[in-house]
């Protein structure tokens, strides 16, 4: 077990990118377009800039707390009780994130390849993979991510650009979408697509060099946003926007359009192969985060036991009867608001208050 493993810059960026990639593979681009229509481009630029300012603020706020994550900062701010509350919130949040991802992806796989197999059959593969990964430890997960991320990024870029023949820039108009209010005010809800920011709250103590936090967050944010932007741009230029569009996995649909001459006409399965591995990596990271927070709350030392327990609970969650509609509802109506509420509002306020407390304490000490 290697839970004390510290990440290098490159590894930390890959960790953040795998989170973003998993969102791109699933329905995040669709939800963005669904909300603001053709205004998605201008909306993404807008929320991208806001997000970037937010990340810069995070960097500044974390300066006072090197080697601390949001759980430690909560303890600093509100004592152990507040730490436990924050821990439980985050454990539930990561469980939900993993659940939504897995249910969505497993349903997609079932629809495409395993019509006759029960969902549990697909889930079992993911569960075993996650258990093994978490038993082996963070070091192996991160190293696998480092291998997978470049290939996945290439696959996404290929999927985006290989269909350039079908690009139709007329589909951008109207550029501001349904109306300005929807694009700029209602469209703020699309900040949920910058879900990677959640991981910035936990990144600091995982880094080998805490001074590289700024670089890691900045670069990972820029690359993630670019990927998101390109994906949305490609989807917009290929598919027509209608109100009754089915929430299909847009990247998968893009990959189905790739043709290499007359010989290779359906390469989507190759992309799916890579994306499955990415989802394995992402789910392992989710469970790792749950284990980490859980250990912080309880001081449990047996990592194996924690790993097995958290994965068992996750498996139990996934076995709850669900269908595509439920998972979509959760993603669109609960998960989206939770991300905005917890990541962009709640934790930010905690950080600001913790900084004020830090200043106040320092001032008191200086007076004494």
């Amino acid at each position: 077990m290697s839970s004390n493993y510290k990440l290098q810059k490159y590894e930390a960026i890959c960790l953040i990118l795998i989170v973003m990639v998993s969102k791109l593979i699933l329905n995040v681009p669709y939800y963005i377009i669904d909300l603001v229509g053709t205004g998605a481009i201008i909306n993404l630029i807008y929320i991208g800039l806001l997000g970037f300012i937010f990340v810069l603020c995070l960097n500044w706020l974390f300066q006072k707390f090197p080697n601390s994550d949001i759980i430690d900062i909560s303890e600093f701010l509100g004592g152990k009780f507040f730490k436990v509350i924050m821990g439980i919130i985050y454990i539930s949040f990561f469980y939900l994130a993993a659940y939504v991802t897995l249910s969505d992806f497993a349903n997609m796989l079932k629809t495409i390849y395993f019509n006759n197999s029960p969902l549990i059959f697909i889930l079992l593969f993911f569960m075993i993979g996650i258990v093994v990964a978490n038993l082996v430890g963070l070091k192996s997960i991160i190293r696998t991510i480092c291998l997978v991320v470049p290939f996945t990024l290439v696959s996404i870029l290929v999927a985006l650009f290989a269909v350039y023949d079908d690009f139709s820039f007329d589909k951008f108009s109207p550029f501001f979408g349904y109306n300005m209010r929807t694009t700029f005010v209602n469209g703020l809800l699309n900040t949920f697509s910058l879900y990677i920011v959640t991981y910035y709250y936990f990144l600091m103590p995982l880094l080998k060099d805490s001074f590289s936090y700024k670089k890691v967050t900045t670069w990972s944010y820029i690359i993630s946003w670019l990927l998101l932007f390109l994906t949305v741009l490609s989807i917009l230029t290929i598919f027509p926007i209608t109100n009754d569009t089915e929430p299909l996995n847009a990247l998968y649909l893009l990959s189905r359009k790739i043709e290499l001459g007359d010989f290779l006409q359906r390469l989507d399965a190759m992309f799916v192969l890579l994306w499955i591995i990415s989802i394995f990596c992402y789910l392992s990271v989710c469970i790792f985060m749950i284990n980490r927070v859980f250990k912080k709350l309880t001081n449990v030392t047996d990592e194996k036991l924690v790993s097995l327990s958290t994965t068992s609970i996750f498996f139990g969650l996934c076995l709850l009867p669900f269908n595509v509609a439920i998972s979509r509802f959760m993603e669109n109506n609960i998960y989206r608001y939770l991300i905005i509420g917890i990541t962009f509002i709640g934790c930010f306020i905690i950080l600001v208050l913790a900084n004020l407390k830090f200043k106040f304490k320092k001032g008191n000490l200086q007076k004494k």
Binding site: S2, F125, K139, C146
Partner: protein, 558 residues
């Protein structure tokens, strides 16, 4: 019963009784006299020494251990003496000419001359006289041999005799004289069997550790090459040589290698393959974690780059540690070739590795789940070929893979004269009869044959063996869940592999974790003039392997 007792009774952890395996053999009850380390000092009386040795060597039943008794003429006395050696391990001519003749003839001649020369001072009047040191007299004056040592403990004497030395015991002297007379028959240096190259040295290691170390010395040609020798195995006391270049290799690496070997508590060690399993970081993983090579030039290259070589007496395969994954895709020839061609070959090997592991699994997955990947024309051809086959693809491919493994195994086990016959039979069965009988489809033959060829293209035997196991796993996973199964297998496989390290070096160095590839680290072979630095992950004492401008002659070109 209170609540606490109730919980203790029903839910408390009870230690499981340990499973103990007892071999029904009375030998277990025998005292371990022969395996215990003897620290018995040599006795001054010859007869006692001989009795002791007879008991140690079981001379009543042991036929090759010889004790030659004789009387050593010193002055006017006959001092009883005995030689101990193992027949077949010593050179009898050396014993006769360098030990017995000087002791029996030269000694008496010297005495006679000294007696006759009255003007000369008599050094030896009486061997029992306190003035005379018989031990020094024999050591300095009677045995004209370059390699002789004095031992006072039976343990050391026995170890040397087992290694081909001859031990001389003299009555009245509590010391044994060990003279090197070894002449162990072994094969001579020949061409490598498993690592053939076109352009490069054509000699391979042999079974004798000393011959192997001399081959390394010949190539490295530097006094900083250290060859430390240790005995491994309480019974076999196998000679293991740990080789490194003192001013290059990392001290911690050398210490770790020595520590692992020295701390082995085993009865015997017979090969480097066994030693590899004892010292590798993760013994349960099938992937090789030490390089095993029979090429002295390859080992010398590794030594000069700061690695540690381990030679086991009795094995022509030398271990090199630490080993990273790309070492197993590297041939001894790569550095001798033009770097363009070497890189081309390396790329071919990487492709071969991919197909050797995944091709059968991918074939099963695609034909069962992802038919859309196959271009239409090819899909028709596959469907057409499979039309008359009554078995599912998984059955077909497992039959063929097992047949292939059988032919391969049989070809290795039989003598070379039969292996051609087996190859022909195998080819006929695989290639023709199976297809004619509609047991397998021709396209599957192509898949299995191509996979087999890809396996042969990988230079390392241990890696190939490991791949052969995983190939079956991927076939089953491909059958169970198509690309989901393959992705699952790959993920778990890679998670396991990234956890590996060899003597502290990550298995996928220098790529994962990512290191500076400018330091001659990576898979790509750099031009010979750009190989200026040693592998970064080895943390050597001399990071620079060449000057920044190694080709000084180019400086003078105008």
């Amino acid at each position: 019963m209170n609540i606490k007792n109730f919980f203790n009774t029903f839910f408390s952890y009870k230690e499981q009784e340990n499973y103990e395996f007892i071999l029904p053999n009375s030998a277990n009850n025998l005292p371990e006299t022969n395996t215990q380390n003897t620290t018995q000092q040599i006795f001054p009386t010859l007869s006692v020494n001989i009795e002791y040795l007879k008991s140690k060597y079981n001379l009543l039943i042991n036929s090759d251990v010889k004790i030659r008794k004789f009387a050593l003429p010193i002055h006017d006395k006959k001092v009883p003496a005995a030689l101990l050696f193992i027949d077949g391990m010593v050179n009898e001519e050396t014993i006769t000419n360098s030990i017995l003749q000087p002791l029996l003839l030269k000694n008496s001649i010297t005495m006679r001359e000294q007696n006759e020369n009255k003007s000369g001072r008599m050094l030896i009047k009486n061997p029992k006289s306190p003035k005379i040191n018989l031990e020094n007299f024999i050591y300095n004056g009677l045995i004209p041999h370059n390699s002789i040592s004095k031992e006072t403990e039976f343990e050391k004497v026995i170890a040397k005799v087992n290694g081909g030395f001859c031990a001389l015991f003299v009555d009245g002297v509590a010391t044994a004289f060990c003279v090197e007379t070894k002449d162990i028959k072994g094969r001579s240096v020949s061409e490598p069997i498993s690592e053939n190259v076109v352009r490069g040295p054509q000699e391979a290691f042999v079974e004798n550790v000393r011959v192997n170390t001399s081959m390394l010395r010949k190539i490295v040609n530097n006094e900083n090459l250290i060859i430390e020798e240790v005995d491994v195995g309480k019974i076999s006391k196998t000679k293991v040589a740990i080789c490194y270049i003192e001013n290059i290799a990392n001290d911690d690496l050398v210490a770790e290698a020595k520590y692992r070997i020295n701390s082995l508590d085993i009865d015997y060690l017979l090969s480097s393959g066994q030693l590899e399993q004892f010292i590798k970081d993760n013994p349960s993983n099938t992937f090789p974690q030490c390089i095993a090579t029979e090429r002295p030039d390859r080992v010398s290259t590794y030594l000069l780059n700061g690695r540690v070589a381990i030679i086991v007496n009795g094995t022509p395969f030398v271990l090199v540690v630490p080993a990273i994954f790309i070492d197993f895709l590297t041939s001894g020839e790569d550095r001798n070739l033009n770097y363009h061609f070497a890189n081309f070959l390396k790329m071919i090997r990487a492709i071969a590795l991919f197909f050797a592991i995944f091709l059968p699994g991918l074939y099963v997955a695609i034909t069962n789940y992802h038919q859309e990947l196959i271009p239409s024309e090819l899909l028709f051809a596959v469907a057409n070929a499979r039309e008359a086959i009554p078995f599912p693809v998984i059955f077909e491919i497992i039959i063929m893979e097992i047949s292939f493994e059988l032919i391969r195994e049989a070809g290795l086990r039989v003598s070379s004269s039969f292996s051609t016959t087996i190859g022909i039979i195998g080819a006929l069965i695989l290639g023709d009869a199976a297809v004619s009988a509609n047991i397998v489809s021709p396209i599957l033959i192509i898949v299995v044959a191509f996979t087999g060829i890809c396996g042969f293209a990988i230079p390392d035997f241990a890696l190939t063996s490991s791949i052969r196991i995983y190939r079956f796993t991927y076939i089953i996973l491909g059958f169970l869940a198509g690309f989901l199964g393959i992705a699952f297998g790959f993920f778990v496989h890679f998670i396991m592999l990234t956890a590996l390290s060899s003597f502290g070096v990550p298995y996928f160095a220098p790529y994962i974790p990512f290191e500076n590839l400018n330091d001659n680290n990576g898979y790509i072979v750099k031009p010979v003039w750009r190989r200026e630095r040693r592998n970064q992950f080895l943390n050597t004492k001399r990071p620079e392997a060449a000057n920044k401008i190694s080709m000084n002659w180019r400086k003078h070109v105008k």
